[in-house]
Point group: C3
Chain length 146, copies 3
Amino acid sequence: MTAAAPALRQAHATLAVATRGRGLVEITAPVADAVARSGIRDGLATLFVRHTSASLVVQENADPAVRADLERFFARLVPDGDALFRHRDEGPDDMPAHVRAALTAVQLSIPVVDGRLALGAWQGIYLWEHRLRPHRREVAVHLLGT
Amino acid sequence: MTAAAPALRQAHATLAVATRGRGLVEITAPVADAVARSGIRDGLATLFVRHTSASLVVQENADPAVRADLERFFARLVPDGDALFRHRDEGPDDMPAHVRAALTAVQLSIPVVDGRLALGAWQGIYLWEHRLRPHRREVAVHLLGT
Amino acid sequence: MTAAAPALRQAHATLAVATRGRGLVEITAPVADAVARSGIRDGLATLFVRHTSASLVVQENADPAVRADLERFFARLVPDGDALFRHRDEGPDDMPAHVRAALTAVQLSIPVVDGRLALGAWQGIYLWEHRLRPHRREVAVHLLGT
């Protein structure tokens, strides 16, 4: 356990993420860049996705088949155009996108240690676009530390 | 990116939420009130629900059909009285409530920027009651910032 | 609401968790120990699991049948060896472990009040091992407060 220096400070940032329709977009590098730009080397980075039809996941960054399988599993679990859903204002993928967001996470906090996100060796941070069409998504970032 | 002033401080609060049985209860306004009362204008608000049969979600605050559809989806995914479940001490909705809590979130952290929660235009914060009967729920709130 | 003393500080810790294969391992006591060792009595504890096939849940700590039912529900929802999955490098439980991690949480933040985690009366913190075989898991801990 390391007691950190007393001068705690914070910074805000916003990440803009252009998606190409449904699927996982890796954002590990832009998050690491936001940490680096803040100058914070020890602390906590918090990400919050400002949408109800996209979410955040930490997943394996090695085999791309993992992301494809995740996508296939969620497509089966929450089928587009399911007759159960009454909210269809924006099409058959509208309500499934909200359900997928509820089943995953809209927020993540990751410790920053020695200037690096404390991710495991195989962990990447992904924004998960749940709508079929491309969107421009925003992730609010809060950085805390020394 | 904005480097904030140095005098970081924190505050605790507790929200009491009366539920009317299963369903989503919007708590955006009481959370915003807790932020305002703390005097913190830039930082991070963290909510933690102190129960294992209720949870927190950020969802669309416009069309109420979204919340009804979410409810219907989870009722189908985790049926009350499922023969799979052995833990039935408090009735057929007891174990489904625990499963729903595991599938959603018990904690949320949301940046506070310029005195406002950094929610997207269509995002509301909801406590999700998973039991059929009304309950009094507690949400612990931690506020950090300047 | 309590305005805390100004001298906010932080500490990092790492918890090593030995699992015995698939199932929930309670880590409430080691988390409370990390808080106590940091000397922080009011603030926020954040846990981040550094793996993509294990996760964190807050669940009932009374009846062990709750954990068994959770396990049974997820085994049915995400079956081992499902023909849907192409990623099978490490066996039939490999991809289901990633899906279970996406459906639950890799991170938790819990307020610390008067030297104690602000858990509800029936809440315990669990690391959920999703692989069939035992693993050594790491949880990064960030502690903030006074």
